[in-house]
C-alpha cells in the first residue's frame, strides 16, 4: 500500500517536472542563443536569403540586360551599379544576387538528395545489422576511397550540363558521411536502456520512435546538414569554375568567380564581389554548424 502511494506521488512529481522542466532541446537552444557568432550568422544568412528572394524582382537592372556602353564600370552610384558591371556591361549586383540564389538552391537540393540517400542507407544498415550491415558499410568504405570528382566531371561531360544532374551528382557524392552517422546512431540507440525502459513501460512502437529515437538521431543529422551545405556550395562552384556547372544565361557564384578571375587585371571588383559574397555565405553556414554542434553535443567542447 505504502509502496503504491509512494510511486503515485513519484509519478505526480515526475509529471509536474515534465511540465515545468526543460527538455534537452530547450537547453540546446539556450546554448545556441549564447553563441554570438552563430546568432550573427543566422541574422546575416536570413538577410541574404531575403535579398536573393525579393531584390531580383525590384532591382532596376536585370542580370541579363547588356549595356553596351557600360562595360567594366567600377562600382558607382550612377545608375545604381553599386557593384560595377562585368565584361558585357551587365550589372554585377543583379548577377551576384541571381548567382547566390542559384548556389543556395543547388545547395538545398543536393543536400536533400544526400540526406535522403544517407538516412535510408544508414538506418537500413543499422536496423538490419549483421551481415547485411557489414556489406552495406563496406560499400560505403570503398566509395569513400574513390576520386569522386572525376566521376562528377565525366558525368557532367557525358550527360550535358543540366542543373538537375548537378545536384543529383553532388548529392550522390555527399551522402556517405550521413549514412555513417545515421547508422552509428541507430545502432547505439537500439540497445539503449531508455528505449528498453520505454518498451517495458508499454510505450507503443511509433511513440518510441517519435519520442526517443528521432530526437536523438536528429541532432547529429541537423549538425551534419549545416556542415554539408557549404561543401555542396563549394562543389557546385568548383564545377562551374571549370565550365562544367551552371550554364548561361543562368549564373552561379562559381561562374561569376571564374569570369572575375579572367578579368581581374582590368576589373578586380568582378572577382572580389562574388568571392566575398561566397566567403560570407560559407562563413555563416560554418559558424551555424559549429554553433549547433556545440549546442546539441556539449561534451565536445
Amino acid at each position: 500500500m505504502i509502496n503504491t502511494g509512494l510511486s503515485n506521488d513519484n509519478v505526480d512529481a515526475m509529471e509536474t517536472a515534465a511540465i515545468k522542466g526543460r527538455s534537452l532541446w530547450d537547453d540546446a537552444l539556450a546554448r545556441l542563443r549564447r553563441n554570438r557568432a552563430a546568432m550573427v550568422s543566422f541574422a546575416i544568412l536570413g538577410l541574404l536569403i531575403l535579398m536573393v528572394v525579393v531584390l531580383p524582382y525590384i532591382w532596376p537592372h536585370s542580370h541579363e540586360t547588356i549595356y553596351r556602353d557600360r562595360v567594366w564600370l567600377s562600382p558607382t552610384w550612377d545608375n545604381l551599379h553599386i557593384f560595377g558591371t562585368d565584361a558585357q556591361g551587365r550589372d554585377l549586383f543583379a548577377r551576384t544576387l541571381v548567382g547566390l540564389r542559384m548556389s543556395l538552391f543547388v545547395a538545398a537540393a543536393a543536400t536533400s538528395v544526400s540526406l535522403v540517400i544517407g538516412i535510408t542507407w544508414g538506418a537500413a544498415a543499422g536496423f538490419l545489422g549483421g551481415r547485411i550491415d557489414q556489406i552495406m558499410m563496406r560499400i560505403v568504405d570503398v566509395l569513400y576511397s574513390l576520386p569522386f570528382i572525376f566521376f562528377v566531371i565525366i558525368l557532367m561531360v557525358v550527360f550535358g550540363r543540366n542543373i538537375i544532374l548537378i545536384f543529383l551528382a553532388i548529392g550522390a557524392v555527399e551522402w556517405l558521411t550521413m549514412a555513417r552517422i545515421v547508422r552509428g546512431q541507430t545502432i547505439a540507440l537500439k540497445g539503449m536502456e531508455f528505449v528498453e525502459a520505454a518498451e517495458a513501460a508499454g510505450v507503443s512502437r511509433p511513440a518510441i520512435i517519435r519520442r526517443h529515437i528521432v530526437p536523438n538521431v536528429l541532432g547529429p543529422v541537423v549538425v551534419y546538414v549545416t556542415l554539408t551545405i557549404p561543401v555542396v556550395i563549394l562543389a557546385e562552384s568548383f564545377l562551374s569554375f571549370l565550365g562544367l556547372g551552371v550554364q548561361e544565361p543562368e549564373t552561379s557564384l562559381g561562374r561569376l568567380i571564374a569570369a572575375g578571375a579572367q578579368d581581374m587585371e582590368v576589373a578586380p571588383w568582378t572577382l572580389f564581389v562574388p568571392s566575398l559574397t561566397m566567403m560570407l555565405t560559407l562563413f555563416c553556414f560554418n559558424f551555424i554548424g559549429d554553433g549547433l554542434r556545440d549546442a546539441i553535443d556539449p561534451k565536445d567542447r
Binding site: V142, S145, L146, P147, I149, F150, F151, I153, I154, L155, V157, V158, F159, G160, P230, L234, S237, F238, F241, L242, L244, G254, I257, A258, G260, A261, M264, E265, P268, L271, F272, S275, M278, M279, L282, F283, N286, F287
Partner: protein, 311 residues
C-alpha cells in the same frame, strides 16, 4: 601484418576494376565522339580512323581489349594527340602535379601541426582564437578564389612572382611553384591545425602528461617528447582523405595557374572525349589514392600501439 596487406590489396583490385568499368562505359555513353570535328571529315576517312583505333567494334570487345592491354601496362594511344601515347601524356604531366601535391602536403603537415599545437597550448586565449580564425578562413575560402587573389596581389600588384604559370621552357623554378603550392596547401593547413588542436588538447589532459610534469620535466620537453607523439596520430589517419582532397584541389590549381599537370589534361581530355587519356588519368589517381590510404592505415597501426591489426 602481411596478411592484412594482402587482404587490403585483394579488396583494392575489384575496386579499381569497378572504377575502370564505370568510367569506361560512362565515357562511351556520351553523345559525340573524339572525331566529331567542327568541319566533319569525309565518312570514309572517319570509318578508317575509327577502325584504326578499334572504335568500330562492339563495345564489349573494346572493353575486353582495353583490360587486356591494361594488364600488360599499355594505356593505349591518345585519340587527340596524333603521335603521343597516354603514357607519354601522363609522364609529361605527372611530375608537375606530384611536385606541387607533395610540397603542399609537407607544408600543410608542418604548418598545420605547428599552428594547431600553438592553439592548443594557448587554449581560449588570443593566440588560440587567432589560429582558429585563420583556420576557419582557410576552410571557407576555396582555392579557386584564393588562387586568383594571390596571383593578383603577389604577381600583378607587388610583382614578387611571375604570373602566367609554368612554362616548360623555364621548368619548375621555386618562384613559379610557390603560389600554387601555398594555394593548394591552405585548406589542408586549416583542417590539419584544427585536428591537431583538438587532439593536442585531449592529450594534454591525460594522466601520463601530468606524471611527466610531476617528475619534474620542463614544459618544452613534455610537449616535444611525450605529448607530440600521441597528438600526431589523428593526422596520420587524415593523410588518406588529404591525398584525395589534394588531387581534387590540383585540378583547380592547375587551371588557375595554368600548370601543365594531369589535372588540367584530364579536364581537357574529358571535354574533347579523348577516352583513353581520361581512362588513364582515372586509373592512375584511383590507384594512387587507394595506395596512399593503405599506407596511411599501416602507418597508423605501426605508430599506435593500441591498434592491433588482425591478420
Amino acid at each position: 601484418m602481411l596478411g592484412y596487406i594482402a587482404r587490403r590489396v585483394l579488396v583494392a583490385i575489384p575496386t579499381i576494376l569497378v572504377i575502370i568499368t564505370v568510367a569506361f562505359f560512362m565515357m562511351r555513353a556520351a553523345p559525340g565522339g573524339p572525331f566529331d570535328l567542327e568541319r566533319p571529315m569525309p565518312e570514309e576517312v572517319r570509318q578508317n580512323v575509327l577502325a584504326h583505333f578499334g572504335l568500330d567494334r562492339p563495345i564489349h570487345e573494346q572493353y575486353v581489349d582495353y583490360l587486356g592491354n591494361l594488364v600488360q601496362g599499355d594505356l593505349g594511344p591518345s585519340l587527340k594527340f596524333r603521335d603521343k601515347t597516354v603514357a607519354d601524356i601522363i609522364s609529361e604531366g605527372f611530375p608537375v602535379s606530384a611536385t606541387i601535391g607533395g610540397l603542399s602536403i609537407l607544408l600543410a603537415l608542418f604548418l598545420g601541426s605547428l599552428l594547431g599545437s600553438i592553439a592548443a597550448l594557448r587554449q581560449n586565449k588570443a593566440g588560440d582564437f587567432a589560429v582558429m580564425g585563420v583556420a576557419m578562413a582557410g576552410i571557407t575560402i576555396p582555392p579557386f578564389v584564393m588562387g586568383p587573389i594571390l596571383a593578383l596581389v603577389f604577381g600583378l600588384y607587388l610583382g614578387l612572382v611571375p604570373t602566367g604559370g609554368l612554362d616548360p621552357r623555364y621548368g619548375m623554378t621555386a618562384e613559379r611553384l610557390i603560389l600554387p603550392v601555398i594555394t593548394l596547401a591552405l585548406p589542408q593547413i586549416a583542417i590539419i591545425s584544427r585536428l591537431m588542436r583538438a587532439s593536442m588538447i585531449e592529450v594534454l589532459r591525460s594522466n601520463y602528461i601530468r606524471t611527466a610534469y610531476a617528475k619534474g620535466l620542463s614544459g618544452p620537453v613534455v610537449i616535444a617528447r611525450h605529448a607530440l607523439r600521441a597528438a600526431v596520430l589523428p593526422l596520420v589517419s587524415y593523410l588518406g582523405p588529404a591525398s584525395a582532397a589534394l588531387v581534387t584541389g590540383s585540378i583547380v590549381i592547375e587551371q588557375v595557374f595554368q600548370l601543365p599537370g594531369i589535372g588540367r589534361q584530364f579536364v581537357t581530355a574529358a571535354l574533347q572525349r579523348d577516352y583513353t587519356v581520361v581512362m588513364g588519368v582515372v586509373i592512375l589517381y584511383a590507384t594512387l589514392i587507394i595506395t596512399l590510404n593503405l599506407i596511411a592505415d599501416l602507418l597508423y597501426a605501426t605508430l599506435n600501439p593500441k591498434v592491433k591489426i588482425d591478420a
